[in-house]
């Protein structure tokens, strides 16, 4: 493990990690305000990527204009998806058992992925050349240019989201509801509206992540796997902590690009090469975190001794 390998892995990892952080933000936000673990989050990432690519391609305009319109359209569609899901599926299920809610989100994921793959096929689809494809050299470190752009966009969005939650009325209402539902409700915060906004924001964050990942790697039917990486990030940071989710995203990105890639290429265990280990790094992280510190780095410590 040379220094060069570590530095390059860190850079690429931070770039990917910023996208994971954005996706994980949606995840944590939804859990924090509604206590629902959305296992369809990965499919919402898929939704964003597929829809943005299809829109960009179908609009007969200069590429950058088509892309800008497509992004706007996708985000609007994502918000609508969030509202529809909350109103149509989740509201009848409030107060139901954990198992029902988990299964409903799984089923929702089935439907979204089925529709996307049904409409546009399961092969890898690429954006038309919107952003330059070259690489950036920092000394002798090589980072893809797309990575830098998407990291920058993700960072801007992360800052934007945190400003929104800090200063806007809706954001304050959402934080209040997340903090203490009953009190917030007594003080006039409409919980229904907060839940609807939470779903919409989660869908927007996920879709934006899908667009950024699509710019980088293209989109195919397996993109929902990223949702599980975001899950690992959220678990690591603490399920109900938004800063934790963001930090977790960066950590998962770096871990998978340094440790995962290293084990992938160099470690041989019992005569078996661990090829593809990069892909399960997030789950190893999940298991370790759950064993050692189930509430994550910044999550609320909820001690129950049995």
């Amino acid at each position: 493990m040379t220094l060069h390998f570590v530095l390059e892995g860190t850079l690429v990892g931070l770039a990917v990690g910023s996208i994971y952080a954005l996706i994980a933000l949606g995840f944590a936000l939804l859990y924090k305000s509604t206590k629902i673990l959305n296992l369809a989050h990965g499919e919402m990432v898929l939704f964003g990527g597929y829809l943005a690519i299809a829109l960009t391609r179908s609009l007969d305009l200069p590429v950058w204009m088509a892309f800008a319109l497509a992004v706007a359209g996708t985000l609007a569609a994502a918000a609508a998806l969030g509202f529809v899901v909350e109103r149509g599926i989740m509201r009848p299920l409030y107060g139901q058992s954990l198992l029902s809610v988990i299964i409903v989100t799984l089923a929702l994921g089935y439907i979204i992925r089925g529709l996307m793959v049904g409409l546009w096929g399961g092969d890898t689809r690429q954006f038309p050349p919107v952003v330059p494809t070259g690489v950036v050299r920092l000394g002798d470190l090589i980072v893809p240019q797309v990575g830098i752009y998407s990291a920058a966009v993700a960072l801007v969005l992360l800052v934007g989201f945190s400003l929104f939650f800090r200063y806007s009325l809706v954001g304050i209402a959402m934080r209040a509801a997340a903090n203490e539902q009953l009190t917030a409700s007594a003080l006039g915060v409409s919980l229904k509206r907060v839940f609807a906004y939470a779903w919409a924001f989660a869908a927007i964050a996920a879709s934006f992540g899908g667009i950024l990942l699509g710019l980088w790697l293209g989109v195919n039917f397996a993109l929902d796997y990223v949702g599980l990486k975001a899950l690992a990030a959220v678990i690591l940071g603490g399920l109900d902590s938004i800063p934790g989710a963001i930090l977790g995203g960066f950590i998962i990105g770096v871990l998978e690009n340094i440790l995962g890639a290293y084990i992938d290429a160099h470690v041989v265990l019992f005569g078996v090469t661990l090829h593809g280990f990069k892909e399960i790094t997030p789950f190893v992280v999940i298991l370790l975190v759950l064993l050692i510190r189930p509430y994550g780095l910044f999550g609320t410590e909820h001690i129950e001794r049995l």
Binding site: L93, I102, H275, V284
Partner: protein, 346 residues
Amino acid sequence: MSVRPAGDFKTTYVRDMALLDTVFYRVGFALLLAALLAAPLVLGRYLFLLNTIGIFALGAVGLSLLTGFAGQISLGHSAFMAIGAYASWYVTTRLGAPFPAALAFAGAATFAVGAIVGLPSLRIKGLYLAIATMAFQFITEYVVIHTAGGMGGTVVPSASLFGVQIRTETQFYYLLLPIWVAGGVFAANLVRGRVGLALMAVRDRDYAAQVLGVNLLRYKTLAFALGASYAGVAGSLFAHYNRVIGAEHFTILQSIDFIAMIVIGGLTSIWGPHLGAALVILLNQGLRYVTPSLVTLLPTFARAATPLREIVFGALLIGLLIWEPGGLAMLFRKLKRYMDLWPFPH
């Protein structure tokens, strides 16, 4: 649902706790068994459906013990099935053991693995447990791909019993049926006995259960071990039935299918997993059968046809959970009650 036929007075506890407590159920069960025994004569080349249903129903019974009765959510049930299948393959091909030994070994091995995987359930619960079992699922998939030949490529010999090679669907059916019925009856007995009551107490509130003297360590690990053991037996049967196993048979999607089976069938019913498995398998095969003819009718439909199954499954699950969380078993119970009183509403 406490409606009893007139004149059916329970005078002893034994009669009150009987599994088949009325004449209707006793006759019905006897008829069901007879129908199952005679099924190969009627079904002909469709017997594979019943074989598949039987195998997955066994697995689903395990998950319903674990999730429905003990309340521990598992998103890694097909990983246990994989362990059972590969254990059975290893014992029959590498050690040359006969099939019954392999079946027993698969059950025992998954019992042990299940107990180990279940240990964290003492420390983490609910959501976190679901996520941990999901991680277990993915890691098992990874291990299978990297140690046991991976995708689609492990050939398992056909089962043999008392010197008879079990090759045809009918032979396999008569091998499967006793195991299926015994597994179902065993689970039903377990649920009405001490173990089942303890599991349900753990499900409803583990604190309270412990105060009442239920040993949580013992019953939570027991639930996992039993659930895993059912899946392991199902996996072993699947391996010797399909005769080719690979990582693609035991993915997270299969785990979700198991959950779909117990939810569709009814979470807290001993009939639920069987009904759910039957519906899921029939729906699967039905869609596979219907899709080509739909495509010839509507050629533009061709691309949407592949994920049709996912969409139908998702919609079915969501609809059931919103309108009838009790699943098929509850629908049957409601139907029976309605028929009991028909034509009067009360």
